[in-house]
Assembly symmetry: C2
DNA sequence: CCAAAAGTGTTATGGCTACACCCATGT
DNA sequence: ACATGGGTGTAGCCATAACACTTTTGG
């Protein structure tokens, strides 16, 4: 499969020279893309130089903020219709990447100009997205050297306030999962209650009564029961469930 | 008292010619300032031409988004330490005021240029603020001809998506008041439980059991009881309460 | 048969609902 | 005295907590 870059329509030089005409300047979107595997929450990060950053992008003048978020998310994950939710605005007064970019351009022998629009101060709109780890195929950008899924409890050295953004998402997820049924976005289409139960325990970082959890979920009426899952492990076979669509 | 304008440091011409250097372009802050009087929720609006708009402003390059919000709020209300809370991002793809400004400039015989930075597309960060109606002294801007407190159920003709922003705030307030104790920001420092009770009923648009409400509030432990209020109305005198500060 | 895993049931408790009752004060 | 308005009490109900019990399946 060919690798797609996020700036499909322009080369890197054009991006720096003409980007300010195409995108809204001083404004960006950052995504906390969260997956779940091996009973752990993972966050998708990209490597830039010796640090890690959140996937993100800029808003085209011709698209709404939501359109931009969806587009960037699709470009980065390969998913058709990913879940996402607004997290917070990060608008610190010295929020700029000048030094990081300068270093990066130097190391990679790229032409650098102090007045590139990307060196200006940025306000970022942070969103979080809950994705099925298995069906997500991360895509790196022009400048990134790698992607990685990091445990939310073991984050690497990150650029600027990006670690703070991830931790905000982690806390927000805890709050949201108590009020809304959104956690299923982290699982495949069909899942069992024990899986959902374990997921909630991981998100909240505490034990939840099995019995109560199951009854509460079923009482919500938003899951439909499917045939039992067949495995070769010992013990009773759990039912599969799926979110009712309507 | 002399009237203060929001752009204390520059004249109108400079604002249009040089504003883009001082402020972050394509980004604004809009405020839904909500007060409570006569058992009704009121929203502070400013008149611009024949329409009404939300008070708002732009973010200085030297200040954080929160600083800007607080500054604008203080300038507009005269309050020292007003409450405010992030509401939502409004980022529609055609969100610009060009025609409105053109008309307004024409009517007022002001020089108008198509390429003023304020004619560009804007993403706005909407905040809502709950203020004590009595101690708020609204201040109009350079271009506004009047201010007004409008009943949330009887909003006037408003510019662009500003009415949608107000209605979003109204709904958000309903949600928030069920989870958090923030409604007291709408009252004076000392208030009675019947007053707080009526306020909640107004916000939620439904009747709430008097008994239950009182017990719930007192059980929260966040209010301290003061001497009874003296009035000349018939009936028992209610206690005054104040939010405990710790 | 036993251990493991999933599903269901039972009792206690705490908060919420709805209403009744009691207290204080002006006319 | 009584109307008005504020404060508190109580019985029923429902969701949750804690834990016990039963069912299914592999070894």
């Amino acid at each position: 499969m060919t690798q797609i870059t996020i700036f499909v329509f322009m080369n890197l030089n054009d991006f720096y020279e003409k980007g300010a005409q195409l995108f809204l300047p001083n404004l960006s979107v950052d995504l906390v893309i969260i997956g779940y595997t091996d009973s752990k929450l993972k966050c998708l990060l990209l490597q830039l130089g010796d640090k890690w950053i959140l996937p993100g992008g800029y808003i085209l003048r011709t698209e709404s903020v939501d359109d931009a978020t969806l587009r960037i998310l699709q470009e980065r994950t390969g998913l058709d219709d990913p879940h996402f939710k607004f997290l917070s605005v990060f608008g610190g007064k010295d929020r700029k990447f000048t030094e990081e970019w300068r270093q990066f351009f130097k190391i990679n022998n790229l032409p650098f100009k102090e007045d590139y629009w990307t060196n200006d101060r940025f306000v970022t709109l942070a969103y979080y997205s809950l994705v099925d780890f298995e069906s997500t195929t991360p895509v790196i950008g022009n400048l990134d050297t790698a992607f990685g899924w990091f445990d939310l409890d073991q984050l690497p050295n990150m650029m600027m306030d990006h670690k703070e953004i991830v931790l905000t998402a982690k806390e927000r997820l805890k709050e949201d999962v108590r009020h809304e049924y959104l956690s299923y976005n982290l699982l495949a289409e069909d899942f069992t209650m024990p899986q959902l139960h374990q997921l909630h325990q991981t998100i909240l970082g505490e034990e939840l009564d099995r019995s109560r959890f199951q009854k509460k979920m079923l009482a919500s009426g938003m899951f439909e029961r499917l045939p039992k899952l067949q495995t070769d492990s010992p013990g009773r076979k759990p039912y599969l469930y799926r979110v009712k669509k309507d």
